[in-house]
Symmetry: C2
Subunit: 328 residues, 2 copies
DNA sequence: CCTTGAGGTGAACGTTTGTGCAGAAGTGAT
DNA sequence: ATCACTTCTGCACAAACGTTCACCTCAAGG
């Protein structure tokens, strides 16, 4: 409907630009103030009204600053009250991430997206804004059906693409192959190669990190792609989590993990050809995996809750103190 | 001070991006909620937080649409409750104008500014935003001292330039010369010529319209630049007002008005070389002068209150009905 | 014709937010 | 140290706001 947009636009102008009260706007339109409140919410949600916060002035000596120094990344630490629920915390983080991503999109951007609970939550907080000639491409193979609260991968891409008005390119392969040979075979297929080629042109990549252990093991590990034996191997190998379905250890190594030969996502090396790599992390149980991701240089931009950030920094400080000539 | 910016930035992120309540933010910082409220106001005022409303979707069949059709301009009509005071109305209009101007500034823009009560009010509602390589140049000669509430012209330019981070170029001549000869002489001066040259490169011009008659005659007419005899002549000539100190009639003519040979501002013809010409008008007594300005094709973008817009359209409708082959 | 359900509205209520005021804390000159 | 001055803060209250709920309207389908 278009009349609604029109009303919302006028209401937004009166309220946000002219700084009238909702009451005044309501009288102007001859509706109730409640309706105006709803119109304004609508205007914000649809991107008719846009509220942006200037980029962080490179946070001083705080957590964020230390992260930036230690890892050479741009970090945004989301303060999180210990009181609020993990879900609430994740929502806070993902809102900030959505805003950060919004700031990275410009005409012609190719956006690479992993899928996961964090990224999903982020996609729900994007405010629509058309970005001409943008493309959204899926980075790693998909889960199949709706599972553990994560909608079908396609739906995630869909909602992101809708927000930015982008084209969608899917990546129709499983998250993990059962046989490395199959992967190799698929990688030779023309249809897959074209996606891989597009992936190599990604300007902005967005992903979370999965944690192998933790309250709820990341769905990568509970979706039937890996069996008992696999888990045993992972534990012995010292794997703590993954990014884009590529498994890694806390020290950032991943190359020699056999199972990665069956994984569908880009390795940190491939990822590092992407100019901006936005990593979104919420929850202390992911600190280890995040540390691995940072050490693997997979991240240029980080959004993380303050609790996890603190744990992360403690870990690195400990590592330095204990092994000044590190041989961990 | 910088600590304040920092706090304000964090508060703004928590409030506007994470959508926390002020209470939550206050607890995080361990200050009172009132302080957070003030921090947020500060963040908005300094441009740390930016709230923008999408451009009008070319207002349908409303007043704005009719203005656009009739005069081939982009018009924005500011709804104005008959109840509010003329001062309040002007504030509403100037807020919208400030927002419109903000939308026109881009790196390298040369902004030409007239001075007047409307423009002054507008300058007070600009939210700071640095525009690289922008320049603000004064379009017409200045009043000398503080007068009828209008600060010294320099102060207006100053605040605008401060908001955009622009360079300032003054135009050190009187609004009206006493002798046309003097003007001609001055126009040969190198210092003046350089300003004139810059004026010819203006990308965006901003000006109001002055009304000859009305509750408070525009300050152009009460600042001692024109004497009794001048006024008599103006009345006989059918002059209704001015833009940029160039006098004009309601039918848009101005060329043959002798006094304009002594005026310092750019004529409509000169003005029309500027790509975007933003005219800001508040108050029904200016409808006549505005009509003249529109007919002189001096305007590409108009911000006007709804009351004045209506009068304006009535005038044009009347003119058409009465003189289908117009000889007014 | 009635039924049913989606989408929208205003009244009322509880929450959230802005602001005048009085006092605290900082600043700089004497 | 004292004073005069400005700037900042929290309190308390009034204003503005978001949301629930009951109700209305309209349109599709029986």
């Amino acid at each position: 409907m278009n009349k609604r947009d029109d009303l919302a636009h006028k209401a937004a102008t009166m309220y946000y630009v002219q700084e009238q009260t909702m009451d005044a706007v309501a009288k102007e339109f001859d509706v109730s103030r409640a309706t105006v409140s709803r119109l304004l919410k609508y205007a914000r949600d649809t991107g008719l009204v846009r509220i942006t916060v200037a980029d962080a002035p490179s946070e001083r000596n705080e957590l964020g600053g230390r992260l930036e120094k230690n890892f050479g990344i741009h970090a945004q630490v989301v303060p999180v009250r210990g009181s609020s629920s993990p879900i609430g915390q994740m929502e806070q983080v993902s809102r900030v991430a959505a805003s950060a991503l919004d700031g990275m999109m410009e005409p012609g951007t190719v956006l690479g997206m992993a899928w996961g609970s964090t990224v999903t939550e982020m996609s729900r907080h994007l405010v629509p804004r058309k970005v001409p000639d943008s493309v959204v491409v899926q980075l790693n193979g998909a889960g199949n059906a709706r599972r553990s609260g994560i909608p079908y991968t396609g739906a995630i891409l869909n909602s992101v693409a809708e927000a930015f008005g982008s084209q969608i390119v899917h990546f129709p392969v499983p998250a993990f192959f059962d046989y490395a040979d199959t992967k190799q075979a698929m990688w030779r297929e023309r249809s897959i190669r074209s996606v891989l080629h597009l992936q190599s042109q990604v300007d902005v990549a967005v992903f979370g990190v999965g944690a192998l252990n933790g309250p709820v093991p990341s769905h990568v590990y509970s979706s039937g792609y890996l069996d008992e034996r696999d888990f045993d191997v992972l534990s012995k190998e010292g794997v703590v989590g993954d990014i884009c379905t590529v498994l890694l250890r806390e020290d950032g190594t991943w190359q020699d993990i056999e199972m990665n030969r069956r994984a569908s996502g880009p390795t940190p090396v491939e990822l590092s050809r992407v100019r901006r790599r936005l990593c979104v992390v919420s929850g202390p149980h992911r600190a280890g995996a995040l540390l691995g991701a940072l050490r693997a240089r997979a991240v240029t931009d980080l959004v993380v809750d303050s609790l996890t950030a603190k744990i992360l920094l403690d870990k690195t400080a400990a590592a330095r103190t204990l092994q000044p000539r590190g041989h961990e």
